[in-house]
């Protein structure tokens, strides 16, 4: 099953709050789990990524938590700011064939209110 399920579809958070976006997958052939951030009118850009041998990765206010046994991973944005308002995509990469094929989740539109 080459799907990555992402929730929620949209999220509204107050400035300073914590934004949490969740993703789940079925296929154990994924070996790399990036998160991309997309602003209106722009292409997605890599935000943070994790490999399945690590349970957590933190970069500044952004943290990925990874639960290999549950096949779930999540993005936490601490101290959310209005500038974080964007669409966030989780993704998973198939390791077979070395093609680098990324399967994206459905996206979460985050609005951070001042």
């Amino acid at each position: 099953q080459q799907q990555v399920k992402q929730s929620p579809q949209s999220l509204i958070v107050q400035k300073g709050g914590i934004s949490i976006i969740n993703c789940a997958y079925e296929n154990t052939a994924f070996d790399y789990f990036p998160w991309y951030q997309q602003f209106p009118g722009k292409g997605p850009a890599l935000l943070i990524a994790i490999r399945p041998d690590v349970s957590e990765k933190k970069e500044g206010r952004f943290t990925i938590s990874f639960n290999k046994s549950a096949k779930q991973f999540s993005l936490h944005i601490m101290d959310s700011q209005p500038g974080d308002s964007a669409t966030y995509f989780c993704a998973a990469r198939l390791k077979a064939g070395n093609t680098g094929k990324l399967i994206f989740g459905q996206g979460t539109t985050l609005q951070v209110k001042p």
């Binding site: 790399y32 722009k42 292409g43 890599l46 990524a49 990469r93 680098g100 094929k101 399967i103 996206g107």
Partner: protein
Amino acid sequence: DTAVSQTPKYLVTQMGNDKSIKCEQNLGHDTMYWYKQDSKKFLKIMFSYNNKELIINETVPNRFSPKSPDKAHLNLHINSLELGDSAVYFCASSQALAGGHAGELFFGEGSRLTVL
């Protein structure tokens, strides 16, 4: 200096027409991609080329034909456009996965295609 550039940024055309979108990357990457983003923002891979060789060809109507004249360029030609082809098409590039590279995708700003 734009890393991945696509032209045109906007394209409005009638059903049945043929159109092309061009993409160029100056990152020195050897893999390039076309992704389609629909009105619900869902991103789906269409094609990927590695050093001018087609390596990913998803279930895409054969009205869509990618061409890679060299590893820095990847074009997308669409024949007999249909209403359902309206979307934003993103070009992306990445370094090869060999050698420990994670394969981060660098996206262009997208080409918004509207078919009337």
